[in-house]
């Protein structure tokens, strides 16, 4: 189930909220939080099983295994060697599960092509959200091992942490340490609930109104023959994709944060106007923040970070970014995309970073955005050659204009401009009103309109005329 669907909004969410807030055990806070976590956990399992009726078992097994092995690990406090062995076993288990389901086909395919073999490729459907929840579990295992957090004694609380439906299938990746306390006690009040509603409505609008509309333009342009694609159309197409992926992903994160707040949780921020970044380093501090933080905390720093000399730092950065690329998908264009950022970050760190800082902010922003947009070409393409072909069109391989260029530019001028300004954060400091209460009222009214249009859009998405007499 995805948040931006009629089934989620009008069949799943209302009963879950009602059960969650139903005052059954008001008088005893302990039982109250137990009931709330239970409702949330069961609802999350239904939410997950809705999309993965079979793989939900895999997730449950993974939860149980990790819960027990970490508990056993903490029983071995007096024997560091045995503790370490259990820790490594837990890490290996999670990496193997993720590796098997996500990368096995890719690995066999690569081995086949390198050694010209014909090993059978097992085509497994990728379980939804496995990359996200495996990373959350790893965060728990590592946080407990490193002594940052206590072992979780309640299976229910642990299962709630892993399965929690607001962030289960598309993040943000919550680190266990950030949420340990909230699993036992969290503040729920009207202010937080209201903030949650506004977050959710904004996220829904970003996804359904912005991302879907501009995404349709990109899909249409990407389907055109790249040999006849004018450079301006190609650039416009990839800029539409640039907007689409931002609004899609940050919209989903906003909905997740909003839903989290409705249930009393505070998740970390995941996006902070990434397209306004002034350097690539800055970009990755603003884009999918929870993922880059995860790689920093659980891969880069344990590898030694920048504390072991320059050659080791370079190696660490390249490892982290190749893995980041691979995390996004099991294909070589994702690896290339990750390595691209690794190399650019190294360049900034050791070669031209100082020179870059001397340029005016606006120039730095343009350079950064240019690099990011080129990166999206590799990210969006179905394969490496397809990406190269599209890049060719962007740089004038088929002329500057084509027959549709002016139509695309004019017909989408209004939405494109609006979305660009929004993505760059130009509306952020919009002076609504100094009065806090009035501001809230106006915001609420604005988001009510956004919510209404979103519902219109998501119902219209299913408009599917049967073309009975195509011929």
């Amino acid at each position: 189930m995805i948040f931006s669907s009629a089934a989620f909004l009008f069949a799943f969410l209302p009963p879950v909220l009602a059960l969650y807030y139903l005052p059954l055990f008001r008088n005893r806070p302990q039982t109250e939080i137990f009931k709330k976590n239970l409702v949330l956990c069961i609802a999350s399992l239904i939410f997950y099983a809705w999309g993965e009726p079979i793989y939900v078992i895999l997730m449950l097994l993974s939860i149980y295994f990790n819960f027990t092995i970490v508990r056993d690990m903490e029983h071995e406090r007096r024997s560091p060697r045995r503790r370490k062995r259990l820790f490594i076993a837990a890490i290996l288990f999670n990496i193997l599960v993720l590796g098997f389901f996500k990368y096995f086909g890719f690995l066999v395919g690569t081995v086949n092509s390198v050694f010209s073999l014909h090993l059978p490729v097992v085509k497994l459907a990728l379980p939804i959200g496995i990359s996200f929840y495996t990373f959350q579990i790893l965060s728990y295992v590592i946080d407990v091992y490193s002594g940052k957090c206590h072992v979780q004694k309640s299976l229910l609380n642990f299962a709630t942490y892993v399965t929690m439906f607001p962030q289960l299938i598309a993040g943000p990746i919550v680190q266990y340490g950030d949420i340990e306390m909230q699993l036992r006690a969290r503040r729920m009040n009207r202010r937080k609930f209201t903030a949650g509603i506004l977050f959710f409505a904004r996220g829904l609008g970003k996804k359904v109104i912005f991302a879907n509309t501009i995404g349709a333009v990109y899909t249409e342009i990407a389907a055109l023959d790249p040999d006849n694609l004018g450079a301006v159309t190609a650039w416009f197409g990839i800029l539409c994709y640039t907007l689409q992926i931002y609004f899609d992903f940050s919209g989903y994160s906003d909905m997740a944060i909003g839903l989290g707040k409705m249930f009393g949780f505070d998740f970390v921020q995941n996006f902070n106007f990434p397209y306004a970044a002034t350097s690539i380093k800055d970009f990755w501090k603003r884009w999918h923040i929870s993922l880059s933080t995860w790689f920093r905390d659980y891969v880069y720093i344990p590898l030694g970070g920048n504390r072991k000399g320059t050659p080791r730092t370079i190696l660490n950065i390249l490892i982290v970014w190749t893995l980041t690329g691979l995390w996004h998908g099991a294909a070589w264009n994702f690896v290339a995309w990750g390595a691209y950022y690794g190399l650019l970050l190294l360049g900034e760190k050791y070669i031209y970073g100082k020179a870059l800082e001397k340029l005016p902010v606006i120039v730095r922003r343009i350079i950064t955005l240019f690099i990011v947009v080129i990166g999206w070409v590799f990210f969006s393409a179905e394969s490496f050659p397809a990406a190269a072909q599209y890049l060719g069109a962007m740089f004038g391989g088929a002329g500057i204009f084509d027959g549709m260029t002016r139509y695309y530019l004019t017909a989408n001028l209004l939405p494109f401009t609006l979305m660009s300004c929004s993505a760059l954060g130009m509306f952020r400091s919009f002076p609504i009103s100094k009065n806090k209460d009035l501001r809230l009222v106006l915001q609420a009214l604005g988001y009510a309109v956004v919510f209404a249009i979103s519902v219109v859009c998501l119902v219209s998405d299913s408009f599917n005329p049967f073309l009975y007499f195509r011929f």
Binding site: G51, Y407, A411
Partner: protein, 395 residues
């Protein structure tokens, strides 16, 4: 507008400040709307089908273990929610208004011209497929050199109304493609549809505004051109036009989501020779005494009034006093064209290669044809993969 608060872990619970009173209203409003729509959804009766989309709507799926295990229950349930959403048609109409309002003039494959008519976008040319087809036609012509063979390739609305496309949109000028096809098919008599259509006084009436087909008027103009080349002896005055419906809303209107625009369908028949033929639908084992199916006017797809739709093979026997017999390869553009031919051939075998799976050699053996006509529209012909294999099956 992003969440600019620091991560939760870094924050200590602050002393609770006053909660704005408005929060209760926002919370109540949000929960109220969710509940209201949910209630409306369950109260309003489910519809069986959608008139505007011409399809059966999803009904509430049955909850069974196997349907849950293979995920079909969930998929059907999500479709059910959107298909049966309260005020669904109104919301969709509002959405297309919004999208035209912000500047879009193209939905899926359909373009709204400046004049308000809907135009089908051009299909891209597939050179390999086209060359294969043209080669097969030439080979067929060579083998049956004694027959009179003609080719009629109708342009589409996008060719005729190129000047009416929305601002900034330009489509390929396909005159070159047409000329290339004509030059490749040297052995066949070329009926220039473009020239024939230019003779019609009101070009607006040549294509439906809501559908991708040409109108009967356009077909008639091309019929006169064919008549001239083949010397059939038809006179314009011996034919009459009759409107049969003025509520036609075609495929383009459906794709675009425009339910207001309507067209009139006319039929064109020889004044004298009514009901002097029998049409035999091979695959359906059905015979009729008319090339028009009135029943089809009651359904959404009113263009099917012509020939009842598209069939693999239809054999038309007439009482025409002639030894001329015709083999016709066609797409749906020919369906409104056919009745005009009936006074001039004693037998017409109509083959739609897209549905024809038999061997053409059988048809050739059973009949002694004098004429062969290929009738296609550009959009279909340029991407057609079915004609070549059928022609090759003639042996």
């Amino acid at each position: 507008m992003e969440n600019r608060r620091p991560p939760a872990a870094a924050r200590r619970p602050a002393a609770p400040s006053k909660i704005p009173a408005i929060c209760i209203w926002i919370t109540a409003g949000f929960c109220g709307v969710l509940l209201l729509i949910m209630a409306l959804f369950w109260i309003t009766p489910d519809r069986a089908s959608s008139e505007s989309e011409n399809r059966v709507l999803q009904q509430r799926p049955k909850f069974t273990l196997s349907a849950v295990a293979d995920g079909s229950f969930m998929k059907d349930f999500e479709t059910y929610m959107t298909d049966q959403f309260p005020l669904r048609d109104g919301l969709i109409g509002f959405h297309s208004f919004l999208s035209e309002f912000t500047g879009a003039r193209k939905q899926q494959n359909v373009i709204r011209a400046k004049t308000g008519r809907l135009i089908e976008a051009q299909t891209p040319v597939n050179e390999d497929v086209l060359n294969e087809t043209l080669g097969a036609i030439n080979a067929f012509k060579k083998k049956n050199a004694d027959l009179q063979q003609a080719f009629l390739l109708a342009p589409n609305a996008s060719d005729l109304f190129a000047g009416d496309l929305p601002y900034g949109m330009r489509m390929d000028d396909r005159q070159e493609t047409l000329t290339a096809v004509k030059d490749t098919l040297k052995g066949l008599t070329w009926i220039s549809a473009s020239n024939a259509l230019k003779t019609v006084a009101e070009p607006e009436t040549l294509y439906y505004r809501t559908d991708h087909h040409w109108t009967t008027r356009a077909a008639f103009a091309c019929f006169l051109a064919l008549n001239q080349k083949w010397k059939l002896g038809a006179k314009e005055s011996t034919f009459a036009f009759y409107p049969v419906t003025d509520s036609f809303s075609g495929t383009l209107a459906s794709s675009y989501g425009d339910h207001k625009l309507k067209d009139t369908i006319e039929i064109c028949v020889p004044k004298k020779s009514k009901s002097t033929y029998i049409a035999e639908y091979a695959s359906q084992q059905r015979k009729t005494a008319s090339l028009f199916e009135k029943d089809k006017l009651a359904q959404k797809n009113q263009y099917e009034v012509f020939l009842g739709g598209n069939y693999d093979k239809v054999v038309i026997s007439t009482v025409a006093d002639t030894t001329n017999t015709l083999l016709l390869f066609k797409d749906s553009y020919a369906n409104c064209f056919l009745p005009m031919l009936t006074p001039y051939f004693s037998k017409i075998v109509v083959i739609d290669p897209r549905y024809f799976s038999d061997s053409l050699s059988h048809v050739m053996e059973e009949n002694d044809f004098t004429h062969v006509l290929f009738l296609y529209n550009l959009n279909t012909f340029l991407a057609d993969k079915s004609l070549a294999p059928v022609l090759q099956s003639a042996g």
